[in-house]
Symmetry: C2
Subunit: 308 residues, 2 copies
């Protein structure tokens, strides 16, 4: 598959998408109403951050995206190097120094009258948007108010959560609950009533200096992985293990991780302050600082060429 020539730097204002084999403005990035990626949510995706002119951990995101496609038995006509080139092309065309960059593969549409998903032609999309924050840097100074919803995350026996997917109605309902109650965001629980994940993020708690994050039934987030690696670097004990609601409510610190903002502090749960002080606790703050410092390490940087 020959790639189209990427548009000139900053030729598209505010964002750029790649759809049907061409770079297009965001407003032209559309999926057929009949694509099974829509009508069956038979789709996988990944998102990666660009910060100050460079992708962060792009390899890891592309690897996971291809693993997700393989798990869903999807194939695209681009290899990993070409996907990388397309993502770079989107960021360059959008002229964004900091960006939220997505790659999407849908099942596509099968030939007329056919219901066999093996016969559909899978479709690839990509895009670059201005960097997205679940909590803005200003909001992070105060910390977020998290609602713990009693809604149950779709079980791993139904949909493999390690394959990044758009099956989010449970999370969306929990968001309604959160906003109705005046909170900032939400998480849902698993079948045992333990903490699962939130809309677009993993959860962590700190108690007596030890960090815990749910072990199963959640996305194996790359930001989650980064936080666990940073704990190791910093000599902070961290475990992936079940986290009860009570443990979260009585934690010393709680934070969330996401490509959309990195490590972000939770200061209240259902309106009740975790500690006397707003903003990040000491462990969260160390991890936040280490997270952003890691963006300067050559091993994790993939600079965008904006020059031509």
């Amino acid at each position: 598959m020959t790639l189209p020539t990427p548009p000139a730097a900053s030729s598209l204002d505010g964002g750029c998408a790649f759809a049907d084999g061409a770079y297009v403005p965001l407003s032209e990035a559309k999926v057929s109403l009949f694509d099974w990626g829509f009508t069956r949510s038979d789709v996988t995706y990944d998102v990666v951050g660009v910060w100050q002119g460079a992708f962060f951990r792009l390899d890891a995101h592309i690897e996971r995206f291809f693993a997700s496609m393989q798990a869903l038995r999807m194939q695209i006509t681009y290899d990993k190097a070409q996907v990388r080139a397309i993502l770079h092309g989107c960021v360059r065309a959008a002229g964004l120094q900091s960006a939220y960059v997505g790659m999407v593969c849908t099942r596509g549409v099968a030939p007329k009258g056919v219901r066999d998903p093996r016969l559909a032609e899978n479709r690839f999309y990509a895009y670059a948007l201005p960097y997205v924050w679940i909590a803005s840097p200003e909001k992070q100074k105060q910390g977020l108010d998290l609602h713990i919803s009693q809604r149950v995350r779709i079980a791993p026996e139904s949909v493999d959560p390690t394959v990044k997917n758009y099956h989010w109605l449970d999370l969306v309902q929990s968001l309604f609950d959160a906003y109705d109650g005046g909170h900032d965001t939400s998480c849902v629980v698993d079948g045992a009533g333990h903490i699962a994940e939130g809309p677009g993020f993993n959860l962590f708690m700190v108690k007596d200096g030890v960090v815990s994050t749910p072990a199963r039934g959640v996305l194996m987030g790359i930001s989650r992985q980064t936080a666990l690696e940073l704990c190791q670097r910093l000599g902070i004990t961290a475990h992936a293990q079940p986290v009860t609601q009570q443990a979260l409510r009585t934690a010393d610190e709680v934070f969330i991780t996401s490509t959309a903002g990195g490590v972000m502090p939770i200061s209240k749960i259902d309106g009740v302050a975790l500690t006397g002080l707003p903003g990040p606790g000491p462990v969260t703050q160390r991890l936040q600082e280490a997270y952003w410092a890691m963006h300067d390490e050559a091993a994790y940087r993939d600079p965008v060429d904006y020059s031509h």
Copy 2:
């Protein structure tokens, strides 16, 4: 909301969609890559059949669609009469005497930087396609070979199955299993291992003249409801109750119900014939005949005006 004038009869070939407030060819019916209806599968829909020039049970489908939207806290600018008019307009423009007609509501896109689903502008789509068969009339003469997958249907505690939704990855995976094994279609089970539903259909079994269909954790299909009503009319005892895999495998007859084909016989389960004969058993056959005869009853017909 003023409706656009419906296109002239048969002005669009092979199908017609309604998107962004206008009647368009199917190829132009597209959803934004950033619509939460896609990126969160935050969407509901309904489909209704047109047979020999008339909608079948259109009221029931429109009622369910509006109930689904209400459950997801969605609102569109069209009322029920206008949705009905749009659906009629699609069928007329497509010039289809028999059609598969859909209505879709997506969450839409929230203002920039906002994650609150309450602030998104919901979007409405509709379409008319040539009638869709899960099993063609020819295939129905033989009956289908159903694969019982051990994959677990998304639980009602996570996503309300009575709100018609596109959370189908579990069903899609079961379809891969079915096609890999040389079967025609598939169903999945619930958390207790009992029969749940298939991709786009409800399941029924007949044993010793008594009809059973799963009671919970499944879509409350309108075709399912029609089959239950026809049982009552015909004096056939029918229960909504748990159906075990073993019961299904040893049933006298098994059939499925869907807007995409009505009452359709299963003749084999995982390649093993249910009875000595292919095609529909006697109860299935009575229900099939009654199902199509019901399409002639004025109470359930809503004729399409193709004349101008």
